[in-house]
Symmetry: C2
Subunit: 324 residues, 2 copies
């Protein structure tokens, strides 16, 4: 059986999995990042993991199609070079990781940033399956995106394409973490939602103030969702407004790219029931009819496996792109 290894290189853990061409994870392992945070240690850890998979899983080395890695940071996915990592210690600057991996693992390797990788995973094996054009959007502290057009990941000239969170939807809007005003992230990122939640708490409206006290003042998106689930109007308004702004950003993507599918993932995506209706209504109001009719907006499907499966799709995608 042909197999591929997908690696989700995170700030705390390195998750490694054996992934089939259909995106099924048939074996996995976890390494602590702090013990594999240099390029040499990372490669060594990966090589050992691949050997263990082989021995325990009865997998033939000859059928290993390749190893794909997704990591958080500025990465040239075309050439597999890590320019800079976020949240990972250990001097990852200008590391030709693809080349390094190929030398030590003796198989085709690929490296790209984590959001691109998840976009690819959802496209090949998740909520974007069966489409040609798919936009992935992740909602969380950061609002990121990955574009697949004609079955291929769009990296652009700088390898940075997909930054839908940093498209300006209101030049007079709130300040964004990137320094600009009115980026999509400044309206729907965790920081914006928590600002709105704290305002509600200060005003003593509804259930959020007492929930916040119970949580010892730790206000999170989950807390706002909890209040919304319980029917709290102020909490639902926070999600509804986020839905409006998300709808503007996604309508822009529909008019510009006419994707068949928009897949929404990330931590905040759990609040789907409270932001999705307004998001859809705004999209229908703003986007042209033909591309809007051709586009479905859905929740991501891969969850925690997305990083591993997507990284494996960096390898599988090369094969299947030709046969799609």
């Amino acid at each position: 059986m042909s197999w591929t290894v997908g690696v989700d290189f995170g700030g705390t853990n390195i998750k490694i999995g054996v992934v089939t061409s259909r995106g099924r994870v048939i074996a996995d392992a976890v390494l602590p990042t702090r013990r594999h945070a240099t390029p040499a240690a990372f490669v060594r850890g990966l090589r050992d993991a691949v050997e263990v998979f082989q021995q325990r899983g009865g997998l033939s080395r000859r059928h290993l199609q390749g190893v794909g890695v997704g990591a958080p940071g500025l990465i040239d996915g075309d050439r597999g070079i890590i320019h800079r990592l976020v949240n990972v210690p250990g001097g990852w600057r200008g590391v030709h990781l693809q080349q390094l991996l190929e030398q030590h693992l003796k198989c085709p390797c690929a490296v790209d940033n984590d959001v691109n990788v998840i976009a690819l995973g959802e496209f090949h094996a998740g909520a974007g399956r069966g489409t040609r054009h798919s936009v992935y959007v992740t909602l969380g502290t950061g609002v990121g995106g990955g574009l697949i057009i004609d079955g291929r990941l769009v990296r652009g000239a700088a390898g940075s394409a997909g930054e839908i969170g940093h498209t300006v939807i209101d030049p007079d809007g709130p300040r964004c973490g990137c320094g600009n005003r009115g980026c999509l992230e400044a309206f729907v990122g965790t920081a914006a939602l928590m600002r709105a939640a704290r305002a509600v708490i200060r005003k003593g409206q509804g259930r959020l103030p007492s929930l916040a006290r119970q949580a010892h003042g730790r206000v999170t998106p989950a807390l706002v969702s909890q209040a919304a689930r319980a029917g709290d109007r102020a909490a639902r308004r926070i999600w509804a407004e986020a839905g409006d702004y998300l709808g503007i950003g996604l309508a822009n993507a529909v008019n510009l790219l006419s994707p068949e599918r928009i897949v929404i993932g990330g931590g905040i995506a759990n609040a789907w029931p409270w932001f999705a209706p307004r998001m859809r209504a705004t999209m229908r109001a703003l986007a042209f009819e033909a591309p809007m009719r051709a586009c479905r907006v859905v929740q991501a499907q891969l969850g925690d496996r997305a990083g591993i499966v997507g990284a494996a799709m960096l390898i599988w995608g090369r094969t299947t792109a030709r046969t799609r």
Copy 2:
């Protein structure tokens, strides 16, 4: 010599040209649209023109690579179907023009909308030459766009991709022709510029009022450019503000797509010296550094030939895409 015919199907004229693979127009002809406004008459006119080119130009029919057509309207470029034409009479609804042309001309044919076609022309033979990722933006009454990613025209699921003019950059902005508020077109389209010019004229500021009187009240973008060229501050302010807003729209495209080049064409593009500096400054302020550094914003090069050359590139692009 291999040759291709490019057709620019406009509301007044049908321009037809023999185009080389490098985008040179070596012969051309013009038919009045009103006499070829039905599908049957259009195809007949085209067939006759191709025969004349052959006979007068000593071109061999055997070396005709194909005929490409660009037309204004809602067109499915993947299948060459005209859903609806703008500014052309004669019942163009659901016309399988590509199929019809192939039956009568006995060569490969292609049909797409005029903006996509110009984007393709600039990409293969104009200001976008030598790049892999290029965004074309046309400034005029409408603000349209065409995207080329990895050397291929992006049509999207509905065939409508590229509508950068109808991405919202300020939800509280002025009403757009499409019905929404704050689309890019509502800030930088001709209507928006003329609204600003008329306000200046009403206030009696600078040279615009007297220029408008000389033009018998016919206020045009050319008039505002004339005033700007003469050093008029109010006129220059109109262009500078348009540059700011265009900069927002283009910065969004840079963050989302990371194109190597953005090519600006269309009627208003003549005012380049007055809007480009502020456009660039805004882009540098808003877009991420890496994709901004990787992107050049330039003026279109093909001018009046763009429609013919681009249409021919619908055919030549199929060949050259493979060898790029």
